[in-house]
Symmetry: C2
Subunit: 316 residues, 2 copies
């Protein structure tokens, strides 16, 4: 099956994914400079910070200042990530600058939830009801469902497609019960287990069951499969992707076996350009952002097109 979409929407997560993992202290002004540069590329959604405990994530200690410092550009949605009520309340203080929206989030791996959040699958699901209500009472729209570890988990192994189907149903049920309408559901390959056939299998099964459901992919590149997985998603008609400029978000050169970043934004945009899929994003401007990101973090980043260059200059 090949059902390439005419256009895709890209959510840039580089600033959030990258600056939360980089070791160095990075000047707030430089983080802001990258975000402002990204906002000039045609990207219409940039996740800029996470509101998390600065002791756990020192790189996000200046999240408030970053949000205050950006020069908001019309047509660009700036968003933040939070993991709990406290983080959400911090985000709410910036309702003038951030396009806050809520997510109904489940994990496909119970072992992952138990380990990271000390919650069973049942507890996690039950909690979503309260979370949706808190969004509603704060006047924050609930627009997204999300399934973590949708393709596999280091603690639980491969995830059966049937479980993903069941989780999508649970998310849709929560949304219906609280009368919110989701715009899309993200399948997150949190621990980089996906391969193209698994992407096709999962997305195909979901599309068969819910033909109108918009699916987004959040693909980590730890095993080098992200761009092939994105292509497999495109072939299945996927129209939304998270991505990370220059591949920010992991540190494969620091020698640890940690997760790599999301699929590289400019490589994804190059792929879409070559497939005739509109992104609304200017590749040359994006490459400049990738080079800026590399300069800011002070070490090589894994993006390819930023090093290899575009083809446009040869096509004249």
């Amino acid at each position: 099956m090949s059902d390439l979409p005419h256009a895709v929407r890209v959510t840039e997560e580089g600033p959030r994914e990258g600056f939360q993992i980089e070791k160095g202290p990075i000047a707030t002004a430089r983080k802001i400079a990258l975000i402002d540069a990204l906002s000039q590329t045609g990207l219409d959604h940039i996740q800029v910070v996470s509101f998390v405990n600065p002791k756990a994530v020192p790189g996000m200690a200046d999240a408030d200042d970053v949000v205050r410092g950006i020069a908001p550009r019309k047509g660009v949605a700036y968003t933040a990530l939070w993991l709990n009520k406290k983080g959400f309340e911090r985000a709410l203080q910036f309702s003038d600058r951030l396009a806050n929206s809520g997510t109904i989030q489940l994990s496909a791996s119970e072992k992952f939830s138990l380990r990271n959040q000390n919650r069973s699958a049942a507890q996690q699901l039950a909690e979503q009801h309260a979370i949706v209500e808190s969004y509603k009472s704060a006047g924050v729209p609930v627009e997204r469902g999300s399934i973590m570890a949708a393709f596999g988990c280091n603690f639980e192994g491969d995830i059966p497609v049937a479980r993903v189907v069941a989780l999508v149903q649970q998310i849709l049920d929560v949304a219906q019960e609280h009368a919110v309408t989701l715009k899309y559901i993200t399948l997150a390959d949190t621990m980089a287990w996906a391969a193209p056939l698994a992407v096709k299998r999962v997305v195909g099964t979901l599309r068969e069951r819910w033909p109108d459901l918009d699916i987004a992919l959040h693909l980590h590149d730890t095993r080098g499969m992200a761009i092939a997985n994105a292509y497999a998603g495109l072939e299945m008609g996927v129209r939304r992707f998270d991505s990370s400029v220059a591949g920010l978000g992991g540190c494969p050169f620091a020698g640890h076996q940690g997760a790599a970043g999301n699929v590289c934004t400019e490589d994804l945009v190059f792929l879409c350009d070559e497939l005739g899929i509109a992104t609304g994003i200017e590749l040359d401007a994006l490459i400049e952002c990738a080079q800026l990101a590399e300069d800011i973090v002070g070490h090589p980043l894994p993006g390819s097109v930023m090093k290899g260059g575009t083809l446009a200059r040869f096509r004249g």
Copy 2:
């Protein structure tokens, strides 16, 4: 269309592609150590050196010593590259160790041929007849056709599919005229212009016209598309790939805009493993080779699975 093969054959080109481009002097013994380690992984074809002018390619000055030094393993074909008669004669001196075989090679870009070999397309074609005869009189089998710049060229731009079809016909005509039977034809994405749709279009057109023709892909990763292009090739039934352990062969971290290496062998093998396609190659042993390669060149190499690790250890 998806026509994943049951098995693929991988030609490891890392030692040749990598050591010819690395700046360092690299000890001959270490080159040999990598080749010998690769021969233990299940790889059955390793391109070990190129016999070229040592003034132009200092990293290949010790090619003779490398070939002499390897511990030939049964079932592994060791091959060399040459670009002219002199190089071929050097290869012939090692007929006991090298599985020398000839290639009928054309370039899809006349501008590239003019620039690099000072030959028009007509001259290049005419020359192939003499080359095939020289192989025959030396008792060297002619087993492969090859089309350079099959997907695009920095000097000529995109290559029309019709031109690739015409070149395959020319190669088959030369083979027929000299009564040699080719085993396969390699499409080389020499300057990394390919995207997955182009791979599908070209391979699909060739398969339609020559259903029994075995096609190999030689994919450079300069723009990060190699693994997605390999996947597109697999979906079209391609069963032969060139690849490069750890992604050896370019130097994306040295700041020049040169070509990156071939698709990374262990990432390709991981992809095949996940798709249920047999390679005969032991992924863990290959990862050790990739780490050895990084140690030998003394700088990070772009391969991903060597950093992110396999999934087997989690599946138990």
